[in-house]
Subunit: 224 residues, 2 copies
């Protein structure tokens, strides 16, 4: 049932309030005469599973827009909290006037399948090739195929399972950066059957002892 405080709603003007969203460092350039560059993107998301596609939206006036439009490739570098300041800085300054890798203290490294560099410090590097670009208004949406993924070894356990919580990921919500908090559950947790508790069977001796203890306690209670 809805509580009263949930029911009280305010109407807001239409806007981009969907939260939380990722805050990623997109690297591009380093080829066809473009210098390597970084741009911080929050308008990004997974859009298709098969083939694996994601989208990023970039304003045409941004320096990286021209790079991505001509090179048709980029890397989505998913940062950890350690790169939070760099993420913010790369969203504020322009690649036209700044060497963003140097300014943010980040290391460009070779990608596996694309020409532009990855950000070595970021725990996830998602290499993408643009398949479609949609001019939507203030932003161009680049729909791109994931062609390679690199994962930092620190995110893996001994069995090879991925633990994103080890990366200390960053989320963005209405103009603020947040750390990812506690895990609530796996997909499907709401229908998962609880494991039966495997309690050891109660031994007769223990039952008899418990009976005696109970009698003793009852006797004491009567006395007092």
């Amino acid at each position: 049932m809805a509580k009263r405080k949930d029911i009280e709603k305010q109407s807001w003007k239409p806007g981009n309030i969907l939260s939380p969203v990722p805050a990623v460092l997109v690297s591009c350039g380093g080829t066809r005469g473009w210098k390597p560059n970084l741009i911080t993107i929050a308008w990004a998301g997974n859009v298709c599973s098969e083939p694996p596609l994601l989208s990023i939206s970039v304003r045409p006036e941004r320096y990286s827009h021209g790079i991505i439009e001509t090179t048709r490739e980029f890397v989505v570098n998913v940062p950890s909290l350690r790169q939070a300041k760099a993420v913010d800085w790369c969203g504020v300054v322009s690649g036209r006037s700044e060497d963003k890798f140097a300014g943010a203290g980040l290391t460009p490294a070779a990608a596996l399948k694309v020409q532009c560099p990855i950000v070595l410090e970021c725990p996830l590097n998602i290499e993408c090739r643009v398949r479609e670009s949609l001019e939507l208004g203030s932003h161009t949406m680049f729909v791109a195929e994931v062609v390679a993924v690199q994962v930092s070894s620190v995110l893996m356990d001994a069995k090879g399972a991925l633990h994103l919580e080890k990366g200390g990921l960053l989320a963005f919500a209405h103009g603020r950066y947040f750390a990812l908090g506690r895990c609530i559950g796996h997909f499907g947790f709401s229908v998962q059957k609880r494991k039966k508790r495997t309690r050891p069977p109660i031994r007769v001796k223990t039952v008899a002892k418990m009976g005696r203890l109970r009698k003793k306690a009852a006797g004491k209670a009567r006395e007092s």
Copy 2:
């Protein structure tokens, strides 16, 4: 500088690893002969600021796909942790066989601009009209315009400012739900000038006292 453990990378097969992403309850139907329905979506994001557009990606075999394709509208209901179990459940069962509002214990309520219901319990309700649909492969991406926004009063402070952290938002990362954690900073924090500290001036008397204390301590150190 990159530390060695950042440099050690593993190559993974291409996939939807971009994280964190939102986990939202999309409501649709309730019009043109369709019953009201809910679908959990993690492939969602903001894609344009002006006009305000977002995208959701839905598999064609999902019951909601037909509803959204014919009605051309839906509501993105951003849940709080209190709806985490409902979010998961609505992603597991199908609207063909279940009344999802009833099954999840959620309350449908009238939207402001669209015909389909909002989820009353969710702190943010983003009403959308479909502008484009792209068949990408396993998923159809619906690019939709935000036509109305409702915000629960619990998220607002006395001055009318929005505090999403009060909502206890939910994020999704590689098959697991997470709570949003601590705030790292506002957009632009990396270039913000620090406020000057207004320390009281050190008084001469205090300086003299500190000198005496230092001499006393040095004397004691010599003694021991």
